[in-house]
Symmetry: D2
Subunit: 260 residues, 4 copies
């Protein structure tokens, strides 16, 4: 059994937060003052950030995304936000590095080993989402592709697996959180928004994830979800978010954590 | 949206508790003073309890189980315990009724419709476990077989579903808890012991279940799990249980609950 | 590796065949002159049959089913049909024995161990369907409950398992057929009607099952499926059945079999 | 319902065939004289072929693979073989085009949309394997990424999905074959080697796939499987292959096909 790292405050990553400031198209992640994440050796995530629209990269080619980048970066900078964006091919990496605080590797690419290897050669932190049918063992094997390149700023993310149950979008494997905590020192983030895909289920699943030992949460929020470019049905209203953060503050000490 | 019932204290059902008193063979459930469960009209669970060994019924025929019953009942009575036992065929029901506080319907029998219908004709409370591959909709359909007979003292139990993941014994579908809370007034119990099948994962999954809205927990404990007749690997040590109950006391108010 | 039994002709069980003779309500199985099944010691299935409506037992209580029985039995007798019916509880067994040629144990009851044990105490052949989430190992364990009582006239039936795929009703695990053939001497029957739940997919899946080594098929047919009491959407038209049987006659020799 | 294409002979793709000629390291696919594949407008696969080791690309970088290529190409040319190789990142495409007759897109990359789009811009035929947890609908959506670029030489491949069953490596969804045949004109290939992962199960599953309507098979073979660089446990012995091809010749006419 490895010696546990000091328990850091919960990391709360909120997609869509720039919408609060009237910057509508693109999805962004807020670190704000809510928390920070530990890693295996380098300290916390860098402190100042620029801006980048995760969603744009999925919709457009890299050139147009880069244009979007400059604008989003300014906005993020202005509001002190962390920039997280999904990377989908090797050719995007180099252009993204100056703008991005945290690469997100999507569930569909968790076994895109060539991409993993290249991310391992960068020194930008990576949030790797569990593949929709990946075993816990396969999550760790994929992580090794990144770690073996020397990039230790890696977070793993439970975001739901595919089962026969169709009521929820996916089935969140909450037990994977304590299992992964046992098997690795890497921070484990939970993504209840994609895990269940239904707004009203996000708060209870966020609480459950933290109760089970998650080091952080990634959630979607939107001041006007019906007008969201994507994932509106699973985006929290701002008032839901406020209530949830209050509950997380109460819950964190039960499992020896804090909310910054 | 239905008007929510008043929130009752969490129900904690502990299998194997008679072992603490030196009564070794058989599995029993403790209500003790930890909580009680609400139902759709009849009030709390009955107050007097007798004793019955759930496990024996699986191993022996009804006659021998009835012999075991008398002894277990006395012990349970003496220690103020609730008696819960698994019922596996129609012919067992009548003989069990005088001794049992709560019928447990196992996951394998969740779609044994003839048995369900007969349990609906009794007035003994029933804890119905979700089938290992049952959808949430099928859980509700099976519940109707019991309710339609007029037995409203029904609790539903999430105890893990079968997925491709083999690290844990089953995959606990924690999201089924808030979904079921939305769709029905019936109390929802979580069974982390069977859900994960690994002792050290039981406490985090118990906390997660309550954080997600569970009305109660059913867990296995044993003073000497290596000598347990069954399910030793997932039985909590007494000291783990003590620590967990302390955490549950802290957690309950976050979700508007108490631990009695 | 056990010495293989002599290869018998394919067994074709056709549900709904009495409808061809204007006996509309109830589902019946035809053996007719198409084939017969081997077992582990007793020879072929008995040769003369009576009549029984499988479907009625699901809908009505035993008394009314028994009434239905007498009529169906006469019809079956008259047309030389085999009578197969689903048994759902222990109390039904005794009353059914005089009328039934083959007990069908439904997928939902594959782990209803008390019922299995009682069926093992009879000498009526049993067709045991694989549970919707049962592993191959669990199929064999359930089979042991019947065999250990001395009833060796047991056939196992692959009828589809539950997966994430929703296009078909279930996912037929065709590979379970050669696996089971390797692990046991028991005849393996395939049920493409329930396996896929879509009429036009039944013939290709029937052919695939036999190509993979199945000893027989159970299929639903109806002269007017839109008016079928149940399962109309997966019932073959008579002309589809005629064409399929012709294809099976061609296919059987490829895998060393015949169609009688 | 679309008008069916003329039925072409079954396509048999055999990985590892170069080993028969003493060219040991690398996996190759043989078309030989066994058959050819239809497409949506362009005619048969190209007739001239070169040589390429699929496996090498997985193990080495592109430069070394290119070296391997030249040798393998010569060997393939000499023996009249088709060259199929897995492509794993966009940067590999251009270098591969001159050497490759058929790109294989692995199951792990079925939703690597950027790679799919680039393959759609080539005019080299593509064999796209179904993702391990992909629905039939998702297979068709991924196919659109390739077709929309104008590359119509696309074959889809059922190679097993992930279920709870662990006896076989994956569970081959044989019913996906007739479903896909109904929904698209694209040829459907079955991959029983990866589908089950056990040598002795490959022949029955190959027969089942063709009986269900598959347009072709991809299988692994090796003259000495214990010494295979990978996948030895699922590679057919040459004599198994010979017997299977004889059975396929008999089976093909039952479903209106031929083996060339």
């Amino acid at each position: 059994m490895r010696k546990p790292l000091p328990r850091l405050p919960l990391l709360l990553l909120l997609q869509g937060i720039l919408n609060l400031f009237g910057i509508p198209d693109g999805q962004h992640l807020l670190r704000g003052r809510l928390g920070q994440v530990g890693d295996r050796g380098r300290g916390d995530l860098p402190d100042r950030r620029t801006g980048f629209g995760a969603h744009q990269l999925r919709r457009h080619d890299l050139t147009r995304a880069s244009v979007g980048t400059a604008e989003s970066c300014e906005a993020a900078d202005e509001h002190g936000l962390l920039v997280v964006t999904e990377v989908m091919e090797i050719a995007q990496i180099e252009g993204m590095i100056p703008y991005v605080d945290l690469f997100q590797l999507g569930a569909r690419n968790m076994q895109n080993f060539n991409l993993l290897r290249e991310l391992g050669n960068t020194r930008t932190p990576v949030l790797m989402k569990r593949g929709i049918a990946a075993t816990i063992e396969e999550v760790l094997l994929s992580a090794e592709y990144i770690l073996s390149g020397g990039n230790y700023d890696l977070m793993l993310c439970e975001r739901g697996i595919r089962t026969y149950e169709t009521y929820t979008r996916n089935t969140m494997d909450i037990s994977a959180i304590p299992v992964l905590k046992k098997l690795t020192h890497l921070p484990i983030i939970a993504d209840p928004s994609h895990g269940v895909g239904i707004r009203d289920l996000v708060p209870p699943m966020a609480l459950a994830s933290v109760a089970a030992g998650a080091d952080g949460l990634i959630m979607e929020m939107h001041p006007n979800p019906d007008k969201a470019m994507s994932d509106g049905a699973q985006s929290l209203y701002p008032e839901q978010l406020t209530k949830l953060v209050a509950q997380l503050r109460q819950l964190a000490p039960v499992v020896g954590r804090t909310v910054a």
